[in-house]
């Protein structure tokens, strides 16, 4: 019976595996092949004047949006833990909305909010007297990437709130009480109970956020198309632009670069997921 079951299990998994193989291995192999046969594109990419800017943008975008989302997500989860609040379930649902609305909608409404003349952000800042003339959020090359980072944080921080507040809620209250009886102060509680309990969640959130940031496309493309003059272009946007101009070997070379980056983070993810699977497999 057991032996038969094993076969059944394998055959039940097979269709999904075959589909994913067709949709991931074949395209990746074709990208590799195209990149190697069109390897003159490596030279064109690395020597193009905008390339270093794209790499700097990608790094800056990733670091800032991941750190921002983690900080804001922890802040939100902590607030939701407060015993002085009412209606926590309602607030948590509200906080999740930016994460679940379509990316293209988020990008569009922020583009409108950032409008120099009609945007509410400039309007509010002007009314409060914080600024004296409107800011060019999306057309100032020195500012645009930071403005877009705000949008990415806005739409991804809810995911951190969700994971971290689930982890915080999972800490048994007795653990805190016992520590308090032993004379622990607030800092000790944080250092020895709270932080260890959420460390795995933090790692997972950070990893997920990095993946999202490195693969981000819709927010930037819809809001600025990577401009002005490439000042908000990151790798996926650069790839899309090459696709639009029909430069196939350039597409493949950038794709290869993206794959190498993703592979690094996927390896870390798989490492942590492997333990999880070992624990919970029936």
């Amino acid at each position: 019976m057991l032996k038969r079951n094993r076969k059944v299990g394998f055959y039940l998994t097979l269709p999904a595996v075959l589909l994913m193989a067709a949709m991931t291995i074949i395209p990746v192999v074709s990208v590799l092949q195209r990149a190697l046969s069109g390897n003159e594109a490596f030279g064109r990419l690395f020597t193009s004047p905008g390339f270093s800017q794209v790499m700097v943008n990608t790094a800056l975008w990733t670091v800032l949006s991941v750190v921002g989302a983690l900080v804001l997500g922890y802040f939100g989860a902590m607030i939701l833990q407060s015993k002085y609040l009412r209606g926590v379930g309602l607030w948590r649902s509200l906080f999740l909305i930016p994460w679940i609305i379509p990316g293209v909608v988020g990008a569009t409404i922020w583009k409108w909010n950032f409008s120099r003349d009609y945007g509410q952000i400039n309007q509010v800042l002007l009314n409060m007297g914080v600024i004296s003339s409107p800011i060019e959020w999306l057309s100032d090359p020195n500012l645009v990437l930071f403005a877009l980072v705000i949008v990415q944080i806005w739409s991804t921080a809810p995911f951190v709130i969700l994971l971290v507040s689930a982890a915080l809620t999972g800490i048994p209250a007795e653990r805190y009480e016992a520590a308090r009886l032993d004379g622990a102060n607030g800092f000790n509680l944080l250092r020895y109970i709270t932080l260890p309990a959420v460390s795995a969640t933090t790692a997972l959130s950070a990893l997920t956020l990095v993946t999202w940031a490195l693969n981000a496309f819709t927010i930037i493309f819809v809001a600025t198309k990577g401009g002005p003059a490439g000042s908000s272009t990151i790798l996926p946007v650069l790839l899309y632009q090459a696709f639009q101009t029909g430069d196939e070997s350039m597409v493949a070379v950038i794709a290869l670069l993206q794959l190498v980056l993703s592979a690094i983070f996927a390896t870390v993810y798989i490492r942590s997921m492997r333990n999880e699977l070992e624990e919970s497999a029936a």
Partner: protein, 281 residues
Amino acid sequence: MKMTRTTRTLTWGTLSWVGLALLVIWTMFPIAVMVFTSFKPGNEVFAKPNTLLPQNWTIDNFVNVLTDSTVPQALLNSVLVGVLATAITMVLSLSAGYALARFRYRGSRALSLFILMGQFIPITVLLLPFFIAINAMGLIDTIGGLAITHLVITVPLVTWMVRNQFASVPIELEEAAMIDGSTRLGAVLKITLPVAMPGLAAAAMFAFLQSWHEFVFASVITQSPSSRTGPISLTEFAGEFTVDWGATMAAAVVLTVPVVIIFLCLQRYFVAGLTSGAVKG
């Protein structure tokens, strides 16, 4: 001076509510602007200084979007693509998810990791190969062609969610039914599926939403209004030099409302499905 219990409560209570208020503003302000702009007449949308609330509320933008644009067609296309992608995803994910939750065989762990890995491949990396493949199948600018591309996004995550759902149903329930003479399939259909149903429904909704949101593939696979989906139609109110922001915001509201309603109804299961892998550590 030592803080008394009441002042302490007062301080922390106030701080909590202030923090909450800040987060609510940060979260909802852009959305409020979207909603209010969608109810503004054209002259107020482009007024300086611009007010948050409309002076004269109007539904003209919605009438425009729903009667005089490609948005209704695009929403219908989005529903069709979403239903098709979700149906295929669920067939594959129910079978694979059940197997991964219940059976251990040589290579089962490697296979589940392989399926899960799919979500790490950047969408833009797949763009050119998928475009070429869909083109070769003659499915460019069709609903079916776009739905196929969405499977690479939905299958890994949904298989994982389904696996977690099945794993949370005690296997003893199934075994009890089998001892009573039921076949394994019968036990699954009669016992496990009904117990896991809410979570599985949430997984299906999750697949649908992923498809509903998807922009990158849709922007290259669909080329005419006959297959163009909601997210693409939203970018079409921008002319060469001007954007009809009133209509754009109305279309954004139309695109967002179903998602928010679905989410709020099913969020309990979404949250459980998504976090069950993450919070145990």
